[in-house]
Assembly symmetry: C2
Homo-oligomer: 378 residues x 2
């Protein structure tokens, strides 16, 4: 096995597959990076059994030659050392060679590394998915679907199913929703005719976070294929495979109130910063609770207090108010998470009393919904 | 006590004094920030008993008004909450008020914080130093003296005196030196006539690191005053007081070899990067040892190996070589620290055999000296 490759191309691919590699895996060889060298290009693979990432570097693309002098072969490299080595190589051309004794030689400029490799045959075969039952959406849309929901997954292992994001595709409408049973985040988007429907696909939040890190904002399409226990995200150069969570995702739609008693319209950033300041003195042990109270002439008071330290109150102007006055307490963290996930200037918050969940969405966009359960403080 | 102040001025001062405050101090009130409000300006104080920092904000400077409506008084504020509050205030004007019950009110825009303060009378009196016995140097020069030496202090408590930097002022020459007994870093600078001499002033490395963080590079002068057990650094707005370490600092000059058998001239960056690459496979348990070997026609080989993982060798061209050939092993970390402290393009390394300490300094500047003890590897 031998080839000469562009370091930057190699580095990007290595950094991508590293996202799947965990130093503490039960299968020792999975701490390594698998290299498959073919005439058309090189595929790197990293996996922790839950997530598997394949990153492909074409030998040539749009007239650019990335890889040269290719002798085919496979090898597994130490993921603890290889990434740093690649990053610090003196020149942009790297020659990598492996002999039959799995001895690897890496040359760049006057630097020469000899590493012990492992046999690629010992690397577990990754379950490969057929592209059947798949659909496509733009990468940047997928990224916003993830950002607007994944933060709301549960971090507790008590109900494992809630540590994932529920994906639904019904009647050409794709829905992502996540809840930790104190708040809910959901986003729907219409998609082109696919011929497929599913409703109980639950992707681990961790998987989506890693995926979001390695796909760059772009309008290019990403292909999504789903089976009963796995999901595959595929772009031109990347294959991201994740297991799905077992079990039935709870029906969340009934949590969402259908009518409201008070509706408030805020400037998103203003509200976010006000809540942020109020949370400075919110009592940790009570999950940073802040209190919202409607006031005269379109003002709302945000307040919180810390028994030993002191208290904070701030008035914020609202664009308008519909319905009755209100006094309600909630987690400042949940509210800030929700507001950060909404990148519109104006938000609409619909309340149905101090003890009922309330919902937040952009004034101009109902496809984004954030729901928060209030906290009883009296 | 009451005043209206420019938030950015306040924030800078708060961040400065925070550098001295430790959340785990034996004297509870030292977790607070002391505020002294006078007609001419405001002084903030933070201290952990070892280090005390005073940051002064003038009411007015160069026609700029920083503080307004001043009612004099003193108070101690919670350092856990106050800095975040100041940082996140909505507007650049901040009104701070304290009543006789130590209740503090902070107002900015529509935000209002009520905090419980503590009595400034309970705040320990900081030992104040007279400006006598003091001398001055430019701030940027002090910063480089610190950067070029402090990294070499010992982190072990076994010999506390070595955790400090030894300052000497003899015959108008100021010397900083630090050693952990495996390596030595030293820098000398000429000083204008001061009339004072001292040789056993040992400043805790931690103090100098904190000082370096809060003084900005500038050609302005900083005044340094020394007593038997304390040192004071003073600028227009800052007073940085540190205790000195007790005990006699070892005489380090005799460690420095006077003649050499091999002299090598390197490009500093090239050598640094080569050592960095070699250290990737250096064995941690042996403090990242790398081997340097002189070769034919002005080449030097840098190599290291890791029994399980592999090995690395790299040849680097030297500008020139004087004296005999050499094969020597040393800590790559110490070498990299030393090279980073030298910001000249060319370095000269003088060896006196594989078992003797060797010294590194810039080709054009003998005032910077780095000494490293080799490691026996055979």
């Amino acid at each position: 096995m031998k080839f000469i490759i562009d370091r930057d191309q190699l580095l990007t691919a290595v950094q991508n597959v590293m996202k799947a590699i965990s130093p503490r895996t039960v299968v020792p060889i999975l701490t390594g990076i698998k290299l498959e060298v073919r005439q058309d290009g090189i595929t790197l693979t990293g996996s922790d059994a839950d997530i598997s990432i394949e990153s492909y570097i074409p030998a040539e693309e749009d007239g650019m030659v990335y890889i040269d002098y290719i002798e085919e072969g496979n090898i597994v490299l130490h993921s603890k050392y290889f990434p740093d080595i690649v990053r610090k190589l003196p020149e942009n051309k790297v020659e990598i060679e492996a002999d039959e004794n799995l001895k690897i030689t890496i040359r760049s400029g006057k630097a020469k590394f000899n590493l012990n490799g492992q046999d690629a045959l010992e690397y577990p075969q990754l379950p490969s998915l057929l592209a059947a039952d798949s659909f496509e959406i733009p990468i940047d849309l997928l990224k916003s679907l993830i950002k607007q929901t994944v933060f709301a997954v549960s971090t507790m292992e008590t109900r494992p199913i809630l540590t994932g994001v529920n994906m639904k595709l019904i009647d050409q409408t794709l829905t992502f929703s996540a809840t930790d049973s104190h708040r809910l985040a959901s986003r729907t988007v219409p998609i082109a005719e696919t011929g497929i429907d599913f409703s109980n696909v639950v992707v681990p939040g961790k998987s989506l976070n890693e995926l979001n890190k390695i796909i760059d904002d772009s309008e290019e399409k990403i292909q999504i294929s789903v089976t009963s226990n796995q999901i595959l995200f595929r772009t031109k150069r990347l294959q991201f495979l994740s297991r799905l969570l077992d079990g039935n995702y709870p029906e969340t739609s009934r949590l969402i109130p259908t009518q409201s008693k008070t509706v408030l319209y805020f400037n998103t950033k203003e509200l976010l910063h006000t809540i942020d300041r109020a949370s400075l003195l919110a009592r940790e042990e009570r999950n940073n609770v802040v209190r919202l109270t409607t006031k005269e002439n379109n003002m709302v008071e945000i307040a919180s207090n810390h028994p030993e330290v002191g208290n904070v109150t701030e008035e914020i102007a609202i664009a308008s108010k519909e319905g009755e006055d209100l006094k309600i307490s909630f987690s400042s963290k949940y509210m800030m998470d929700a507001l950060k996930a909404i990148d519109y200037d104006e938000v609409k918050i619909e309340f149905t009393g101090a003890m009922r969940p309330f919902i937040i969405h952009p004034v101009e966009d109902d496809s984004i919904l954030q729901l928060i359960l209030p906290v009883r403080t009296f």
